[in-house]
């Protein structure tokens, strides 16, 4: 549970950064080429978050299993 809370906190902290980027399109274009690069970052971010979330869930399953085995 603690891990999931930490994970959600991580996303909440990261989201203002993502919002900031869409405001400063011009600056962003100068740094990274075209503004459509946002979509690439967003997609990578989602895939990474999804896989990590899944790993956390698997991790929890294993921990529960370990607990059961100890008993």
């Amino acid at each position: 549970m603690k891990q999931i809370a930490l994970f959600i906190l991580m996303i909440v902290l990261a989201s203002p950064l993502a919002a900031q980027q869409s405001v400063d399109d011009k600056l962003y274009e100068a740094l990274h080429g075209h503004a459509s690069f946002h979509a690439v970052f967003a997609v990578l971010f989602i895939i990474l978050c999804g896989i990590l979330f899944y790993l956390f869930r698997l991790d929890r399953k294993v921990s529960r299993l370990e607990k059961d085995l100890k008993k």
Binding site: H32, G33, H34, S36, F37, H38, A39, V40, A42, V43, L44, I46, I47, G50, I51, Y54, L58, K61, V62, L65, D68, L69
Partner: protein, 345 residues
Amino acid sequence: MKQNWWKIAGSLLVVFSLIAGLQIRVKPGLLNTVSDHASTSEAPFKVSISGYNTNFSQAENQVWLVNDTLRKIKTCASKITVTDDQHIIAEFPPVAPAADPVFGLAVYNSADGLLFKPSAINTTDTFKAVIVQSCTPKVDVNAGKQFAFPFRYVLYESIRNLFFHVPMWFCMIALLTWSVFNHIRYLRTFNAKYDVIADQTIRTAILFGILGLITGSVWARVTWGAWWVDDVKLNGAAITMLAYLAYVVLRNSMEDKEKRARIGAIYSIFAYVMMIALLGILPRLKGTDTLHPGNGGNPGFNQYDLDSTMRPVFYSAVAGWVIIGLWIAQIRTRIHNLKEASENQ
């Protein structure tokens, strides 16, 4: 280590596709073309051109307009002023449209090759006595060839998402194929081992399906302008996900293990056939309108859809993600088996 080689191979393929997919440049192209006159035939006019990834200042430029469908009558710029690598101003003599009131604009230099914007300048003029200003620019077809991703309007840099969004679906379909194969094996042998593999694989496939839906939604917002558009493939993907979520609910709702496995296996086979119809057949039927490439009677990937520079990156991304999906499914299966063993003790 020896039995883990495929996991390492899969990881390396995904890492390769990430690095190559983000590092390789997009080919040069023309972003904006703005004319200072609404009419093109009354007086000479200036067009400000902004390019993307272009090298205007590094070689001599030629700029011309085309209007006819065959792009044969060319109107060359009388004066070209290069501001920097991305900006150029071209002056044209008066020219009237021969057909539609839309001109295509081409820029050529030996560093970038031939760049073309199909509907670059609109004119208020209608067809009248054609003022022909024909010229023949010297173009080397092989100029500007470089290992880079194609420049596409609407997509621009987001063309890279092909390596991240599309493999999610390929991975889901591969995992579902593996699971239906195991479900058939289960129905032939009634060996619970196959049922566990198939069930855990479906649960992993749902992860990739959901990731595919969300990433697709984000990409659609940037390119098509909406989070969700009315598209056969999108709706088909959503129905597929619902069908497989229903599988999970159905299976979890039954207590008896054998009954659960049998009904689950039969449901899974039907869901799989439906998935193939919804994602593979319906979007390809003639008359269906879809925004996805390679549909409406065309083969999935043709030369136009998948550039030869994108092919190696795309295929390694697909292979890598499929392996990672199978890996996750295998871990899930192992956890499930351990759980069963501990419960039986």
